[in-house]
Amino acid sequence: MKRLLLALVLVLPLVSGCTKKQNEIVIGEYDSLTGSDATFGLSSNKGVRLALDEINAAGGVKGKKISLVTLDDQGKNEEAAAATTRLITQNKVVAIIGGVASGRSKAAAPIAQTHKVPFVSPASTNPDVTKAGDYVFRICFIDPFQGFVMAKFANETLKLKKVAILRDVKNDYSVGLADVFRDEFKKRGGEIVTDISYQAGDIDFKAQLTEIRSKNPDGIYIPGYYTEVGLIAQQARQLGIKAPLMGGDGWDSDKLSEIGKDAINGNYYSNHYTTESSDPSVTEFIKKFKAKYNETPDALAALGYDAAKILVAAMERAADLSGPAIRDELAKTKDFVGVTGKVSLNENRDAVKSAVVIQVEGKNRKYVSTVTP
């Protein structure tokens, strides 16, 4: 009896994988629904679902409804790769909406490329992600641009001379932003007084911050994720560091202010969009998002929403729903008006669009300026 049960348990998932409805198009998505940066994945997933619900309500694509299969990568690169393989081989998805983190996209994208399944990442900003091949796209700007934006902002608007960098050395994203920031800031005549590192998961940053304090910088660039940045901000203020902190879109989460409390207020980060925009497409999106989930969408939700919309638009234009046909149409995406701005994909399949600089003010985010490429 026990063996029979075991056999059933082992076979069940295989059987259920085969019962695919004929009049449905399946799109796959993997995201960090659990793990240390889960709010990114959860937000992005909410955006994707909102977009697909709207599309289905309007009749779907080519007369067929879209169903979404979302797998959890638990915030781990190897799980992202496994999820992608499973989406392609078992769920037979026509296209994949990738996850948020660049490291995970780097693990997953080559698999989609080998199987010739179009892959769209909503928010992986590391330049190497789309180098996996011509089936891999992204609808966000890339790290060099974000590093450039903050270096320009630090130099022109804040007029900083000496900046310290504190980077998450285990994170491709953080290292990418920090490198570009360092080069661009130096090129503009600024000085990088120290460039030191921490690791995701650390909770104590006093050693690094004491070191930074001794160099007395005008500002600190911390291109990490909100989980650590909140704690870093608190500990920096505890050590009496008053210089402004700057970061990238990894800061964008409500948790940042919850963890960082008052210490995070007044600091700046670059982002994909601002909820303060009066653009009708943005206000409309925020209204619908609030109605469905009862919360204000962050940038990741907006990017997930745009990714799904852009993918579906390409599927609608494509002659058929084969991988190559969708791919060709995706590559032609030009001036698509999304929530996060006007999206055009360049020859590297990266989006070219502007970024905004935001200042943290408690739960609110104050729009400061827009920086164009």
Partner: protein, 300 residues
């Protein structure tokens, strides 16, 4: 020079947190001769218990002594109950089994709590309630001594002396030492080993509960995997000081905290974890019993 003193203060403060957790490892090892790998996850559950209690009682933004006391009690009680349950359900049935089985069970319980915790509490980080206000006790130039750092250090030293007193100056402590030396002979002399072991788990888990509230007030980000790294570091600290030795645990923890701080300050944070486990390897090679531990021949 100022920086160096600040680094020392930071290091001691980090070390005293390791110490609170390390004491739990050392206690259970002392009596059962097993590493309770689930200890650091009991600590995690304690942090969540305090978090939910603060929200239920609506005191999450109400820092003060009363909040601290309530959260400490909630956390200690929940940790003790969980520790007891783990002992009763996972370890006691394996009492006569080979050491390896119990060790694997402990790892299993640890993973169960970590990933069950993700299911129940959600994997995204939560923000620990405001327990107390942190303030500067005194400062010399830029070097500051904060109330939290001192609190954590004082609590772990009180815990150390308390345990020392409990083990060497009370009847219960004598019974614990008897069970530790030889459980079956102790039971012939009227000590109930199961009861003593359960008591050890209550004390050890309460310490984890205290630790979770103190860490929560200092680093207010809690998540279900928060016990993993801090648990491993505390375990290394306990081994470094001589596992089973109460003073050794605190000494080892302070050495760990200080050396980590110095490595990050003067080398690179990349070596932080490598250092911790490097220490473990070196100590196991050259002084397997730990700094304050006594080398004993295993009885056959």
């Amino acid at each position: 020079m100022h920086d160096f003193i600040q680094h020392i203060i930071n290091g001691i403060s980090l070390g005293s947190i390791y110490a609170l957790i390390a004491l739990g490892y050392t206690m259970v090892y002392g009596i059962l001769k097993m590493i309770n790998f689930a200890h650091s996850d009991v600590y995690m559950v304690g942090a969540f218990a305090a978090y939910f209690a603060a929200r239920l009682l609506n005191i999450e933004n109400n820092p003060g002594i009363l909040t601290l006391v309530i959260l400490l009690i909630v956390s200690m009680v929940s940790c003790s109950l969980l520790g007891l349950a783990i002992e009763r359900l996972a370890y006691r049935p394996l009492r006569g089994a080979p050491k390896l089985n119990i060790l694997i069970t402990a790892i299993g319980v640890s993973l169960f709590l970590q990933f069950g915790g993700q299911l129940v509490f959600g994997a995204d980080p939560k923000v620990f309630p405001d327990v107390m206000k942190d303030f500067v006790l005194f400062n010399i130039g830029p070097v500051e001594l904060k109330s939290f750092d001192v609190t954590v250090l004082v609590v772990s030293i009180i815990a150390m002396f308390g345990l020392q007193f409990l083990i060497y100056n009370t009847k219960l402590g004598r019974a614990m030492r008897a069970v530790s030396a030889n459980a079956s002979v102790a039971s012939l002399l009227g000590v109930n080993p199961d009861r003593i072991i359960a008591f050890t788990f209550i004390v050890g888990s309460s310490l984890a509960g205290i630790g979770s509230v103190l860490v929560g007030m200092k680093y207010p980000k809690i998540e279900p995997l928060m016990g993993m790294m801090i648990g491993l570091k505390a375990f290394v600290a306990a081994v470094l000081g001589g596992i089973g030795n109460v003073r050794g645990a605190v000494l080892g923890a302070l050495i760990m905290g200080l050396s980590e701080e110095m490595v990050v300050a003067y080398l690179s944070s990349t070596y932080r974890d490598a250092l911790a486990f490097g220490i473990l390897i070196v100590i196991l090679i050259f002084k397997p019993a730990g700094l304050l531990g006594k080398y004993t021949v295993e009885k056959v």
